[in-house]
Amino acid sequence: MEQYFIQFSLLILFLPLAAFVVQIFLGKRLPRQGDWVSISAIGITLILSLIMFATMLSSYDSGFSKEASFTWIDMGSFSIQLGFLIDNITIIMLVVVALISTCTHIFSLEYMAGDIRYSRYFAYLGLFTFSMNGIVLANNLISMYMSWELVGVSSYLLIGHWFEKDTAANAGKKAFLTNRVGDIGFFIGIMLLYTAVGSFMFSDIFEGVAVGKISGTMLTLAGVGLFLGAMGKSSQFPLHIWLPDAMEGPTPVSALMHAATMVAAGVYMSVRVFPLFSPDALLVVAYVGGFTALFAASIAVTQTDIKKVLAYSTVSQLGYMILAVGTGVYTAAFFHLLTHAMFKANLFYGSGSVIHAMHHALHKKHDHNTDPQDMRNMGGFKEKMPVTYWTMLVSTLAIAGVPLFSGFLSKDAILAGTLAFAQHHPAHLLLPVFGFGAAALTAFYMFRLMFLTFHGAPQMPELIDDIHESPKEMTGPLVLLASLSVFIFYTLPYVDPFSDHGWFTDLVVAGDSFVPGSIPAREIADHAHHAHYTAMYTSIAVAFLGIALAVMVYLRKVFSAENWVKSFGTLYDWSRNKYYFDENYERFLYQPFFRLANKVAWLDWDLYDKYFINGFGRFTDWLSRVTGRFDFEGIDQGLVDGTGRIVNYLGGTFRKLQTGRLQNYLLYVTAGLIILTIIQAF
């Protein structure tokens, strides 16, 4: 099967694009607005990915790697190669993308039914999947960067899908522009590497790093530059501001974006380029990730919008992954990316299901003012929506890091790596603190979400009768993804819920960094192994601490949440308002920028335009008069007419040669023949 992988990859890459093209041009004219085109394209993609996945499992080769390139641009010494790199990480990621994307397509059938831009929505989903697969398959920074930007574009289109709403349109713009900030860093990183190494291919760059073509500060700068790109896409502090706003998009899109495509791109890229991060760059990565994990979790604690909680939860979990990359256990980061994709997609579909139910209930009551996403309006949905409840509970347990579920394994691997890192670098004690703190908060706010939504007394009793379980198109993906959050799928062929040892750890083995003098992967793994049990007990302890706190506050009401709000007033306000990041950006970034823009505009209008441009205009006017006279008298009268006169005179002269007498012509011919012969002979 391996020999067909490249063809498979081509299909996987371009089928969603083909679906996009068909949908965008013909979508409205096709029956059912062409949703079956998208579904079948993504379905084939999923099947091909699964075939590749099965082949990978059956060959069970951790060193498997396949590469194919072609020359895209060739201009002498400058040439750009594009191509595919297929190894186990790629295959797993392809499955994740295809699976989540398929679920999103199916889920959207019902969720988006009746939308005015139904076909266009599916078209954009195809474009999104295509761009993400482009990142996943890239074996070079150029095509990765192109797909990277395409992901940005398609996320912009999907977040702003309901662009009639100002908030949605603005959220789309915000996502796009915030990403641009990171992308500039990414681009600078790419260019630094290209200048030093002279190639965009990963393999060439790694080799260049290994032989020291780029080292020291430049390598750190390049690494930080690449990481800036990851920060933008993976929504790391301080570029996290776009992601919660991106909730304005349709909920299935949020699931796709948060689980498999957009935000995963940053982590995936960090994992891919990990071997060239210098130790200094890794420290930056680790601190940004760790801080983001704790920081976002602390915001999620106080949010009341169900999707905002999940959004900050995503930011926090991505922080985990970035933290893992920074501490060197990047396979753990990728593991968490995989498990997180499943349970986070499930949580989003679950929230979508809840919102869908709320929306219909409110619609029936003709209530258009109540926010269907606000958890304060929910409560007591457990009996009404059993499938949604139980599947979401599984995912919640997984994200909280409870044993027997997938999140426990991956989170444990990250925390072990972080702890090991701190044990060997005592100065960075803060990193595991970030990690464990975030773990406790995660358990707390996720159960808070569950309790507020599904338990307790209904906050709006008049609605509860109209709340119904969602149809099969929506619950199907829920059940599938919830079952994929059980540990057994990741530890096979071993069955030990307390160890992450399984096919994943067998197949995805960390390689050594190419930066000279860095710690070998074997050593990092050993350190993490030693820290494993400590990390595991601590993480179980903090997870249960968080859960217990949530149970006491929101289920048993032992403590009153209101009292806490009063006693921690300032802290609560800060968290509730997301630490005033948007406001401060507004005040210290946007406003000064606008003022500067106004100043520049004044300079432009009043100085530049009035004096320079107009002066230039007058000068040009005068100059054109002068040249006009020169033109008329010199050129027209002298040169042009002169040429005419000369030609006229010459014509008159030569006309006499044309006698019309054949004998003259014959004479010329003979004379010409003789002249030619002379020329030829001498």
Binding site: Q663, N664, L667, I674
Partner: protein, 162 residues
């Protein structure tokens, strides 16, 4: 003896050819052409081309020359004794033609010609006949069609009142 005859014929040919182009009286020029054609026919005999020499006599002297004299008679008043005509651009023409002749002579004298050893003279009529009906059958047919065309064309052109 043969040499002397040859040079006599050559001289006759050249001198009468000069007469053809230089004489002012058309009828005399035509008579000069007669001698030129006779001379050429004689040269053909020296070249062992008996058939061609015969054809030359028959067609040129018997046909074309008579045609030309007819033409002269038809287009000039027969009563005028001196059917004169004048020449144009003689000076320039002479210079150019002299140069032309010089170049031709240079080419003739400088080229290393392939010279075949002399064979016994034999009649060429049979050979020409065979060739015409075998290898050159198509050109033979084409040329006969051409002759027919020329015949019809000439007849049409010279018809009265067209």
């Amino acid at each position: 003896m043969a040499d002397m005859v040859f040079w006599c014929i050559a001289a006759l040919t050249v001198i009468s050819a000069a007469f053809v182009v230089l004489n002012n009286q058309l009828l005399y020029a035509a008579i000069g052409l007669l001698f030129t054609l006779f001379g050429v026919a004689g040269l053909y005999v020296f070249l062992w081309a008996d058939f061609i020499a015969g054809v030359q006599l028959l067609v040129y002297i018997g046909g074309i020359l008579v045609l030309i004299i007819f033409g002269i008679m038809l287009t000039n008043q027969i009563s005028s004794v001196r059917l004169s005509q004048t020449n144009v651009q003689q000076g320039v023409g002479a210079v150019v033609v002299t140069w032309l002749f010089i170049f031709l002579s240079m080419v003739i004298s400088k080229t290393p010609w392939l010279i075949r050893p002399a064979l016994e003279p034999e009649s060429t009529t049979a050979g020409v006949g065979t060739l015409l009906l075998t290898r050159y059958l198509l050109p033979f047919e084409v040329i006969s069609v051409l002759l027919l065309g020329a015949l019809i064309g000439a007849a049409v052109l010279s018809r009265e009142g067209n």
